[in-house]
């Protein structure tokens, strides 16, 4: 098969769409963070996110968040079809501002934790997890 001018154009358009798509996914992550923080600035330290570097099975990836002095922690998976994962709100009897759980990751991607600290500021941490088998039934 030889490429016509039209084919080449179509391919170029497809390639452009592919490069644009990840940005769209990120936009919704930004929206979720903005909704959580109300547009406040994010500090780079103050929240610890523990996640494995490589997860063999994307269906159960153990993660843990820890942010001393946090009242709420939002966890997002940037590359999932729906990026929201969980929001941990700590009550008056929380022994520490730490929680662990297991999450699903559709593929290799960044996991993000945003903590709302009691002094009204916000902190963010992110970690890239390599996933061998995705966890979305694909």
């Amino acid at each position: 098969m030889s490429l016509t001018r039209r084919d080449t154009f179509g391919l170029a358009l497809g390639a452009m769409a592919l490069t644009v798509l990840p940005f769209r996914a990120n936009a919704s992550v930004d929206d979720l963070i903005a909704e959580f923080t109300g547009g406040a600035d994010l500090a780079d330290s103050g929240v610890d996110l523990t996640a494995p570097e490589i997860a063999e099975n994307g269906n159960t990836v153990p993660i843990s968040v820890d942010a001393p002095g946090a009242s709420e922690i939002l966890v997002l998976a940037a590359g999932n079809p729906t990026p929201a994962v969980a929001t941990f709100a700590f009550g008056p009897l929380a022994g520490s501002r730490m929680a662990s759980t297991r999450i699903r990751l559709a593929g290799t991607q960044e996991v993000i934790a945003v903590a709302k600290l009691e002094d009204g500021t916000f902190a963010r941490a992110a970690k890239t997890v390599k996933v061998t088998i995705g966890g979305c039934g694909g």
Binding site: N80, T82, V85, A89, G91, L93, A99, T101
Partner: protein
């Protein structure tokens, strides 16, 4: 109600007053994400537990809002402050409106 839902929690039997104890919870639930398709290619509707709370003598310890990205059989580990003897109440809220609860007493030594 999703079938076969069984909560399991691990709480120490006793603690000293003011001690911080680690709690572990697991509930068997399929957590259908709403992303999967059955063999005919139609989408399996979402059916998850969307909220989990833990209280001690009526005071909140943790309140988790859960999304479909939480794994099957949701597991949580967290820490609670135990000021006095009493009872932990764990509650899970299902998408279909049902709730599952479990309680565990703790003594002060």
């Amino acid at each position: 109600m999703a079938s076969g839902v069984k909560p399991r929690v691990k709480v120490p039997k006793s603690a000293s007053a003011g001690e911080v104890v680690t709690l572990k919870t697991l509930i068997s639930h399929p957590m259908e994400s709403g992303q999967r398709k059955d063999k005919d290619g139609s989408l399996i509707p979402r059916s998850i537990i969307n909220r989990f709370t833990c209280d001690f003598n009526g005071q909140n310890v943790i309140d988790v809002k859960m999304e479909p990205a939480i794994s099957t059989n949701p597991y949580f580990e967290f820490e609670a402050l135990v000021p006095e003897a009493g009872e932990f109440t764990f509650t899970w809220y299902d998408d279909d409106g049902s709730t599952y609860t479990d309680t565990k007493p703790i003594e002060i030594v």
